[in-house]
Amino acid sequence: MSITIENLHKHFGAYKALDNINLEVNSGELLALLGPSGCGKTSLLRIIGGMELADSGKLLFHGEDVQQRDARERNVGFVFQHYALFRHMTVFENVAFGLRVKPKKERPNEVEIKRRVHELLCLVQLDFLHDRYPAQLSGGQRQRIALARALAVEPKILLLDEPFGALDAQVRKELRRWLRRLHDELHITSIFVTHDQEEALEVADRVVVMNKGRIEQVGTPDEVYASPATPFVYQFIGNVNLFHSRDHAPWTEQHGDAVAYVRPHDIDISRTAQDNTALPVEVKLVRAIGSVVRVEVATNGSSELIAIELSRERFDTAPLLLGDKVFIRPRQFRVFATGDQHELSAT
């Protein structure tokens, strides 16, 4: 089921949680809402789920306005950050809950409930835990039970709030691959909230980058990484060097209050200056980390370091030593006016 959001606003007192949100979620896609804490991503998710009401704007499921519909009538599965499993019920009863509270006419009989619950528990590979209580499970197991419980009512939309936030790094990586595979099997329109860019880029079909209640960019993981639309996206996703063009960005035409953004792996190093747009620098640090070599350089008289990443292969063809005087030139950069979100030029 597709979701359409138009001109959505939400305030908490004087605080603007969501400021004119417009978003189209395609049927069957896995979308990530990515942003720092307090950017409004969870508020947006809760509004879609019906736990929160928007101040103004439209929210449509498959073209149908659902703002007046109660959370229980939206047919949306919600997985909470801290799972919110019913602590006094076994795993089986937790998953069966959504079936048991159905109106009498729609409620499946006991045999059918049993079959469905076990089917779901098998889907999340935890059928052997059916008689345990939530407190007896590990974080990753609780997460998967919460997912099975949400899926039990066959939702048309699945919403996940920081689904891996409370897990340790190893479990987190496993679970997000597992979630991706599960989504490929089930194809439910899914939205998950995260502040972890790696998670968003790895799992999602499309990423919505949010900041201060606004959407900064919507795009595929590749798009938001390779061509960030705003300085915020540049800085939030991946590493970036900032060149204040007035001082040291000879390759830009731009002067005045502008900043050039360059990814560390988009910088070329050479021993000689090909033309007058290359910047003379001194090597301050060389460190090999696995398959990449991280080099830090500084311009004459400046303490500000510029980070450069080279592949090990590339580094080996022209090794650098501490204190070497070299020239750098970006292969790719973008310039934004300071204090403004407008892009000025790019190559």
Binding site: G50, M51, F78, F86, R87, H88, V101
Partner: protein
């Protein structure tokens, strides 16, 4: 092994200090709690079973016992419903005047019971604000059973709500939100999710509320008028008998109140033990 023994020794006081501390605590308890309790029963049975029974079967005593139970039977359920509703509202929702509501709930704890009783007299008594209106409609609240029930409700107002508010706040509202997103109605959410989560705290609050409802003296004393056989509760009856130098009868009725206290403590311990037992089961 050896480190463990060492640690044990280093964190333990010497035997003498242990005995001294435990001894002081026990002596204190015996002197101020055990001895009075014992005295109640000794005095009650001083002149034998027969007189004890007679004192309890005396019609005025019997009527006081009945009235006490009636007052508790109305006050406890009323405060149960109110307490759950108030705690639910305070813990799970944001609204204006929330801190005012919390303060109001605490009011009966803050004011002297005598004052609470007096307030009802000032409101509903013959000379009170609503006195003439009540008289015109032939409704008698003060110096009658309804007044006693009202005063009891007022005094025991905070017990259940106070017990539940911190508990429900700690549990948050995520489970309720999860239930609603799974299609449960408000009613289903309450019965299937909220109530099972608070049941031990609720029972604990009910026990405390009941103990206070049956034992309340000050507020009830002001509104009761001490009409024997009509508006006397057990604590009031004890006072009257005692003032009449009828020590055996006074202590006989008092022994019932003491017995109630003991039963309350036992039930309370059982509830705590049960609740902990379940907590342990859930955590393992």
């Amino acid at each position: 092994m050896s480190t463990q023994t060492n640690r044990k020794i280093s964190t333990q006081e010497s035997l003498a200090v242990t005995l001294l501390l435990v001894g002081i605590a026990l002596a204190y308890l015996l002197l101020f709690l055990g001895l009075p309790l014992l005295a109640v029963f000794v005095e009650a049975f001083k002149k034998g079973w027969a007189l004890y029974w007679a004192a309890l079967q005396e019609p005025d005593a019997w009527s006081a016992i009945k009235l006490t139970f009636i007052a508790a039977a109305i006050a406890v359920p009323a405060n149960l419903v109110f307490g759950v509703a108030a705690a639910w509202a305070i813990a799970k929702f944001e609204f204006k005047g929330k801190s005012l509501l919390i303060t109001l709930i605490d009011l009966p704890f803050a004011v002297s019971p005598v004052v609470s009783g007096l307030v009802y007299v000032l409101l509903f008594g013959a000379q009170g604000w609503f006195g003439p209106w009540l008289q015109a409609h032939d409704i008698k609240l003060i110096f009658a059973v309804p007044g006693i029930v009202l005063a009891t409700i007022f005094v025991t107002f905070p017990f259940i709500a106070r017990e539940l508010i911190p508990l429900m706040q700690a549990q948050g509202k995520e489970e309720e939100e999860a239930a609603v997103s799974l299609g449960a109605s408000g009613w289903q959410t309450f019965w299937r999710v909220t109530l099972p989560n608070i049941k031990w705290g609720l029972l604990y609050g009910v026990i405390l509320c009941n103990a206070r409802a049956m034992g309340e003296f000050g507020a009830v004393s002001v509104v009761s008028g001490h009409v024997r056989g009509m508006t006397n509760t057990m604590p009031l009856h004890v006072e009257i008998l005692y003032n009449e130098y009828n020590a055996v009868a006074a202590f006989a009725v008092a022994s019932l109140l003491a017995l109630l206290a003991v039963v309350t403590l036992v039930v309370k311990s059982l509830v705590e033990w049960q609740a902990r037992g379940q907590g342990v089961r859930l955590q393992n």
